[in-house]
Assembly symmetry: C2
Homo-oligomer: 119 residues x 2
Amino acid sequence: MFKDLLQEVVENTNGAVAGVLMGYDGITVDSYVGSDFGLNVETIGMEYSVVLNQIKQAAEMLDIGAAREVAVQAETLTTVIRLLNDEYFVALAMHPTGNIGKARYLLRTNAEKILETLI
Amino acid sequence: MFKDLLQEVVENTNGAVAGVLMGYDGITVDSYVGSDFGLNVETIGMEYSVVLNQIKQAAEMLDIGAAREVAVQAETLTTVIRLLNDEYFVALAMHPTGNIGKARYLLRTNAEKILETLI
């Protein structure tokens, strides 16, 4: 069921190549990988889970409420992440030329569905 | 001179409240704070410098080239960060309803000017 939702986001976002639903402990719940993607999306999620834990700490220190969304653009990969709750996040891996706006929109609108299914 | 560039970015971005040019060691080069901003932009920069060091490590591990841009949306503060080089970054603090697209554009286009002045 999660895979279907991840697939929906990946296939409807220009430039998206893979998505993963993961805990902040780096353990994957589910993932979906589109065609011709050279990286392991679970490895991406694991690396960013460390970053997200740091961001959650920073948000707490700064008293700016919960972190909801993170986007990182590197030279060959853009990653858009939606923090779902205290336990899980969804990360979408994209080509650098991909449509980040669409990615953010679809992650936000699908977050509710994923949360309902998670709980 | 840096303050002028930071001011230009802050004042031309809807919802932006402050900007800081900082090293990844958390030491401020310069900052500009617009009116009615309750948080210390240097504290924001310092908290995110820890996050950015983690992101640089993740990018290296994943072999996705250098990280160029990071955006974090929390409930009451959005932060858009441009990583200038191996030493410095610029962080822009914004209201959550601010124009992230304009922030990214102005940070990218001003990055060159800031870099020229830094070196």
